[in-house]
């Protein structure tokens, strides 16, 4: 793996990227976004150059963007969402113009956005917040309502929608004190079998196992856990490679049908090619990374956000 020049250089020593997202058609359109403490950046050339997008809608002036997510059909509908304090912005033209959906006071601080894989049909998306639990929209992000029934912990840190959400309606929410599962598209939540003493759960991802879908849960201090039975039982995996925090997980499906799982820890980036059993260290970082992005382009590129420095692009 070779590090290229800094793709996006931060201007302040405390500037940080909270999330990175790329278009599903990144290999063709080179479109990606960086949600940072200064605002939302967009690149249309595969991360070579970046522009800071302006949000003109009152009262949501230029401010920290804590999460960004693109529609699974963004190549066609050019829809993306950005979370700022107190609201979620929606753009239907790739980020040129924005519309704000407002939320009840006090303003929620958003931590995660999850979009239904079948978004074009069901228009379903969920937003996790730091103190207000989960908000849901069923009209493509125009209107939002709190869906917290059974969610005892309202500090939601991450969300993961099942790849088969249209059929199983399953969504997981990682919180400060445990992991919750909804089997009705987010309308109600029940605590699942995750051992709560290992919470907080910072990251979640679905990955293809040998015969079943695996769910991975990264914790703040206790490494990575895997469930092969839809969250009913959990097993800690690779404690040597991932002894502490697992801040972000990303799964990349290979054209040959295999899958790669990328894990972002405080020390760098690790990769597993055997459903999370063994891990190789890809990048060791002196500065704690805050976000990772592996765009769907055959695993050829990787972006790593480093606090106070910028976003570094790697060639895999």
């Amino acid at each position: 793996m070779r590090a290229e020049a800094i793709s996006l250089e931060f201007t302040g020593s405390d500037e940080t990227a909270y999330a990175l997202a790329a278009s599903p058609g990144f290999a063709k359109d080179g479109l990606c976004f960086a949600a940072t403490s200064l605002g939302l950046y967009r690149s249309t050339d595969g991360g070579e150059t970046w522009e800071l997008l302006r949000v003109t809608e009152e009262p949501l002036q230029q401010m920290a963007v804590t999460a960004v997510a693109l529609s699974p059909a963004s190549a066609q509908d050019r829809t993306l969402f950005a979370a700022v304090k107190g609201g979620i912005l929606r753009s239907s033209d790739g980020g040129d113009t924005w519309f704000a959906a407002k939320f009840p006071a006090p303003p929620p601080l958003f931590t995660a956005l999850a979009i239904s894989p079948d978004f074009a049909r069901d228009g379903l998306m969920l937003a996790g917040t730091m103190e207000d639990g989960i908000f849901s929209s069923t009209d493509r992000g125009r209107n939002w309502q709190p869906w917290n029934f059974g969610l005892f912990d309202l500090a939601v840190l991450c969300l993961a929608a099942s790849p088969h959400l249209g059929e199983d309606e399953t969504i997981f929410a990682g919180t400060d004190t445990g992991l919750y599962r909804s089997t009705n598209g987010g309308r109600a939540w029940r605590e699942c079998g995750f051992p709560s003493q290992f919470a907080p759960v910072l990251s979640l991802a679905y990955a293809a196992g040998k015969d079943e879908m695996l769910l991975l849960a990264g914790t703040e201090d206790n490494g990575l856990f895997i469930s092969g039975d839809d969250g009913a039982s959990w097993e800690r995996t690779a404690p040597d490679a991932l002894p502490g925090s697992v801040n972000q997980l990303q799964v990349l499906c290979q054209p040959d049908g295999g899958g790669e799982i990328y894990a972002l820890s405080d020390d760098g980036v690790l990769r597993s090619r055997d459903a999370g059993q063994n891990w190789d260290t890809l990048v060791e970082a002196a500065v704690p990374p805050t976000a990772i992005l592996i765009p769907d382009c055959g695993g050829k590129a990787m972006f790593l956000a480093l606090t106070g420095k910028g976003i570094v692009k790697y060639e895999v």
Binding site: P104, A105, P106, E131, D132, G133, P146, N148, F149, G150, L151, F152, D153, L154, A155, E169, T175, D176, T177, G178, T183, N184, R187, A188, R190, E191, S196
Partner: protein, 550 residues
Amino acid sequence: MSEKAPFHSRKTYRPGLVFRPQAQENIQRGLNTLVSAIRPTLGPTARTVAVTSLIENKDTPEVLDDGGIIARRVIELHRRDADVGAMLARALICRQNERMGDGAATAAVLLAAIYNGGLHYLASGGDAMRLRHHLERALEKSLAALDQQTYTVAGKHNLAQVAQSICHDAELAKLLGEIFDIIGAYGRLDIRKDHSRILRREYVEGMAWDSGLFSRDMIVNRAQLQTVYEEPTFVLADFKVNDPRHIMPMLEIAVDQKIEKLILVAGDLSAEAMAGLMMANGKLKHFQVMAVRGPGGNADERAAAFQDIAIATGAKTLVGAAGDSLKDVTYGHFGRARRGWASTHNFGIIGGKGDPRKLRQHIGRLQSWLEASDDPSVREALQKRIGRLMGGSATLWIGGVSEIEIDQVKTLAEKTASAMRAAVSDGVLPGGGMAYMNCRSVLESQSQSGADPDERAAHRILFDALAEPARAIYENAGYEPGEVIAKLLHADNGSGFDVLSGAITDGAALVDSAAVMKAALRNAVLTAGMMLTIDVIAHHQSPEIARQPD
């Protein structure tokens, strides 16, 4: 079997003793009379029973299709020996209906079949006590067989199917399926009358109590008649705050800690203390306080409500019985939430900032108490507390074209909701009487080859009785039970008979609540076993009119 005049005005009786076989024959007559009135209501094609009113000058009889309500309306039979049998059956049916919300007619049919079979055996020289013992052993085998058929049900469509099999109302079933998919076995559901003509549901976020502001002067939003605070802090005092000077330490802490919104939940508040709070609202800049009456109609309810609010918000309650006073308050007593609201009748909390782990443990404790309790009022109170703490509630609004229709649908919705809770909590099994039919195989061998004649008889009696609910359902729908059962014997394993379509179907298409079916069978066997041991009836003079069963 039938009584010509089942209801009559109260008479004075002479005392007396009635011995077997007359006592047993008359008990059987009374039991069968009552069950005959309820049997037509079993199944999706339930027929109705018209019950004349007990109220004078009210000529219109009630038309009922609910076995539990019909049994409740029958308060006395004409013949006092028969009345003993009818009232014993009535107690069972009412208990089944109150506890489970469904299965009353099933329990009645099972009871009659077991008692009739048992009495027939006793007439040929069987031993009642031994028969009862073996019936209870056969019951355990049957319950184990029901357990094996039980499976959990989830998802709004499957739950709607369960609701449909209970209420036979597609629109109501669809809404209840969605509601129970969200609230689960323990969530809070209010069923209320509506002025519209349709059924609709509403979900409310947060926890709410039936208790409001001490004074209308504290209402800020005059249009909505409520006050909403963002990021409020809470102080809980379960006693009456009399002395206005006692509120000063609380206000000083609030000012020191730069608290802008404070909600005082107190057992009671004197006019002087209220005036002190109102003065603080006017004088202190960037500070507002409202005072809410502590919920609960009695000391136990109030203590429970304060405990729940404390855990939800992370507050520490000042307890009057422990000698606490509001002047002793410290910052450690304060709790917090994202939002708090109050009107003159209610108040609520959204996003309480208590420890989620403690909240989870607390709910777990309440759930275990609920499962251990048999007292309906205690169960209802615990159910409400758990539902409230789950963080939201559902309301089903019942509309209709007339008050009578609304009342009927509301009763049906309440009954279905009760059975749905049991179905969500304990699972479902094949419906239409098939689950009982499937249990017969575990009794068959013992009914033929058991060493003890009483044991053989008990197994045979229960074997026959377990077919009766299905037979009644087929009969009520106009089918010949023998023909249907013969068809089922040649059908695939797990098949059932859908009386609405008249076709053999996959068993999964017809479901019943497992808890309801098990309770109906258990209650019927235990009651029948007890009734079979009765040899003598002793009558007092002027017996009391049958009371509500325990």
